[in-house]
């Protein structure tokens, strides 16, 4: 009998709030974290110059062991989220065997600001000023390494940089580590920092909306780059019960697939996305009509939302019209590798509180996106089973299923 893996702590660093309570409150209120970009000068860019940045964040307010000065912004988000998650879980870190406690993190870009600094030196012909800190702080695996260093976890340390689906991959991996008994507790999630490289890339793809993010709306004009982190405390159900932990939800299973179609665009008929959903349902032994909520990838680009809708219909058939679907990217923008981790946290909270966060700014329905997207207002709804979908460049598709814990 495989043991159940449950979510007992949530740590969030987002543009709409830091910490579980602020995040969830503002998410249900439909508050947006989107505004003019502050991280760098965007005057040379064509278009809207909007972003969803984490403002008024001081990592030192959360960290206990590490000095944030020695780490990049994504690592600062991740370590702060880890501390918040542990506090939220009331996990006594001193009582944990550090060698049986691990970290699994997803990211799109790692610490892009570090390579940007490197490039500034190359362009300015000051390469001689590049020091040892570049190799110590740039590679993406520094993110879980810093988290481990901050909380003292010496077990499995994993980085899965599968772009915009990375958080889901990291959570799925952490569950497997726990199920196979290779750890007693895992911190899992995703982190990404606002970056000029990412912003430039999406701007050149013509993917950035000029003003706001309107997933599934007929007039949707694109995504909004964002940043943030989410870390989940995952542990076996028996251990959570034994220590009297609050259990938000169980991570029931997952499915992964690859489009093998196009490096940036999703398959027009949603083949890969559908296979990830079907695999996840099969992994959990569930039928499609048992799903009570789908957290959409829902970036707000014309193609993503249409193709995602096609994929959902392919799997859920007529039931797809009865299952509420929402995209919280309408408020948080696209936080890259952090997105699916933040959305997994939202799924856990939706299950725990029987309330579904809305898709904001959905004013004019699109005939091609004709499902129930929970427009503009949160909805009370009993959520037994939530499916968290995330798709990425590289055709990397992932579906993670969370369910109400009946332990």
């Amino acid at each position: 009998m495989q043991q159940s893996i449950v979510v007992t702590g949530l740590g969030l660093v987002t543009s709409i709030g830091i910490g579980r309570e602020a995040f969830w409150h503002n998410l249900l209120m439909g508050r947006s974290g989107i505004g003019p970009v502050q991280a760098f000068d965007t005057s040379a860019y064509r278009g809207g110059m909007q972003g969803a940045e984490v403002k008024a964040f001081r990592a030192a307010d959360y960290l206990v062991r590490l000095d944030p000065a020695g780490m990049g912004r994504a690592s600062q988000f991740a370590t702060a989220a880890a501390r918040l998650a542990i506090a939220d879980a009331h996990l006594d870190v001193a009582a944990v065997d550090p060698e049986r406690a691990g970290v699994s993190m997803g990211t799109t870009s790692g610490e892009p600001n570090e390579i940007e600094r490197f490039d500034d030196h190359v362009v300015a012909a000051t390469v001689d000023q590049i020091g040892p800190e570049f190799i110590a702080s740039y590679p993406c695996h520094v993110i879980p390494a810093r988290v481990a260093g901050e909380v003292g976890f010496a077990g499995v340390n994993m980085t899965i940089p599968t772009a915009c689906a990375a958080g889901n991959y990291a959570i799925a991996y952490a569950c497997d580590v726990l199920r196979t008994g290779r750890a007693d507790v895992m911190l899992a999630g995703g982190a990404d920092a606002f970056s000029r490289i990412t912003y430039t890339g999406f701007a050149r793809l013509g993917a950035i909306a000029p003003d706001i993010c309107r997933p599934f709306d007929r007039n949707r004009k694109g995504m909004i780059p964002g940043e943030g982190a989410a870390v989940l405390v995952l542990e076996p159900l028996a251990q959570a019960l034994a220590r009297g932990a609050r259990i938000y939800a169980e991570v029931a299973g997952y499915g992964l697939s690859c489009d093998a179609h196009h490096i940036t665009a999703a398959h027009p008929e949603g083949h890969g996305a559908a296979r990830a959903m079907e695999k996840a349902l099969a992994h959990c032994g569930l039928q499609p009509d048992q799903v009570s909520y789908i957290s959409a990838h829902g970036t707000g680009t014309p193609t993503n939302d249409q193709r995602e809708t096609v994929a959902v219909k392919r799997v859920f058939k007529e039931a797809s019209y009865r299952i509420p679907i929402s995209s919280i990217k309408s408020m948080l923008g696209h936080t890259m590798g952090a997105a699916s981790a933040i959305e997994a946290a939202a799924c856990a909270l939706a299950i725990f509180s029987n309330c579904i966060p809305p898709t904001m700014h959905l004013e004019e329905p699109d005939p091609e996106c004709d499902l129930d997207y929970v427009p503009n207002a949160a909805r009370e709804h009993t959520v037994h089973i939530a499916m968290n979908n995330a798709y990425a460049f590289g055709g990397n598709n992932s579906s993670v299923i969370l369910k109400k814990c009946e332990g």
Partner: protein, 414 residues
């Protein structure tokens, strides 16, 4: 009953050959691929040499000019061609039965990322190519190889510095054991480029000229070692659920029987902690394989000439194998291939598979003075002719990551 994971194909792109046979022959001849760097300007850098793939032509493996693919993606796609051909997974079979890809890489292409950024800086953000952006994500190579070869199964990219390749093999092993996948290409890749080279050079980790005046070269475990050299390459193994391999009548090369990983919170800066973490990864791998240290026939070390990491690994071998360490045949292929970062663990595995086939373990190039307190009596420049029914592969990062893998000939009783 847990599913067993077997290796049914090998694809390798290295400066010492593009087959496991060619690589093994070169390693046994003690050939080094180290040469002066021509790929970029080394003015102002301490190290001037690297193990570059100077003769790599992607068209040889891909049939047509892969213009949309950057160098890392080309290496991965080429290695995938070789591994798929070797294992007999034709395109028709892959359309019937999903094959996935798990790629370990430290940077994927930091060069592509940096070039994209620098073009934006110098020309303006409206003058960079959106298709170049697609290749800046760290999972780009795995995604491109999947498109090229129609790999629609699970597709994951694993980053863990030097340990990436071995961690990818361990991750893939777990996906097959848990039933999430039945056939996966898994391994690692890394390209040589200015950005990573400059980074390691500035961190003081690359070797300079030796104090006897001879030019720079890495000597794992030697008292004279003063750093490592960087290399590049790609290695992918075809991993399958043993039941599937049997059902399709595949030739089984070997089995992955165990893996283990650990993190050193002092990231290599405190010797006792570092040794403990490396030993812990090895012990976890042995435990997973249900083996005792005395069952292990040989060890492929991560040692690359690093002053500290080589010491820690040698002491960890002593910790795990006790007095048995004296009799344990040890090789360190980074003496000839250099440190290929995310590719290294997978390249070590390919080299060891070839060694197991021939029962010859390559010597460690130029290793003449094993540091006095290292218990490695069977590490030296000469090849060792021994029955290699299995082997332990170790991968040690400069940043605290440690990983170990056990491979064994099928039905070897372990």
């Amino acid at each position: 009953m847990e599913r067993r994971v077997v290796i049914t194909g090998i694809g390798v792109i290295s400066p010492l050959g593009d087959s496991s046979v060619a690589l093994h022959t070169a390693l046994c001849e003690g050939r080094s691929s180290l040469q002066p760097i021509t790929l970029f300007n080394t003015d102002g850098l301490v190290c001037k040499q690297a193990h570059a793939l100077t003769a790599f032509t992607p068209e040889t493996y891909l049939g047509k000019n892969p213009r949309a693919l950057d160098r890392t993606s080309q290496l991965v796609t080429a290695a995938a061609t070789l591994a798929l051909d070797h294992s007999g997974w034709s395109l028709e079979m892959r359309r019937e039965h999903e094959v996935g890809l798990v790629l370990g890489t430290m940077f994927c292409s930091v060069h592509t990322i940096a070039e994209f950024d620098r073009r934006g800086l110098t020309l303006g953000p409206n003058y960079v190519s959106p298709m170049d952006f697609a290749n800046t994500v760290i999972n780009a190579a795995a995604g491109q190889a999947a498109i090229w070869h129609d790999l629609r199964g699970a597709n994951s990219t694993i980053a863990g510095g030097i340990t990436s390749g071995l961690q990818a093999l361990a991750y893939a092993t777990e996906l097959i054991r848990s039933g999430q996948a039945t056939a996966l290409l898994a391994g690692g890749a890394e390209e040589l480029c200015f950005e990573s080279f400059c980074g390691f050079d500035r961190a003081g980790l690359l070797c300079g000229a030796h104090y006897d005046g001879t030019e720079e070269f890495p000597i794992p475990f030697d008292a004279r070692r003063n750093g490592f050299t960087l290399g590049e390459g790609a290695a992918l193994l075809m991993l399958e659920d043993a039941a599937l391999a049997t059902a399709r009548g595949a030739h089984v090369i070997a089995e992955i029987t165990g893996h283990g990983s650990a993190y050193d919170l002092a990231h290599g800066m405190a010797s006792q902690q570092a040794i403990h973490a490396i030993a812990r990864a090895m012990r976890l791998a042995l435990q997973d394989a249900q083996m005792d240290p005395s069952d292990i026939a040989c060890l492929s070390a991560s040692a690359n000439g690093s002053v500290l990491a080589d010491r820690h690994e040698a002491q960890a071998i002593a910790t795990v194998f006790q007095e048995g360490a004296h009799d344990l045949p040890v090789t360190a292929v980074k003496s000839m291939l250099g440190e290929t970062l995310g590719a290294s663990g997978a390249l070590q595995t390919v080299a060891l598979l070839a060694a197991m086939r021939d029962d010859v373990l390559p010597g460690i190039r130029r290793l003449e003075q094993v540091e006095e307190d290292f218990p490695l009596h069977r590490a030296g420049p000469c090849n060792q002719h021994v029955h290699l029914r299995n082997g332990l592969i170790s991968s040690v990062g400069v940043d605290g990551n440690c990983c170990a893998l056990v491979i064994a000939q099928e039905n070897s009783g372990q």
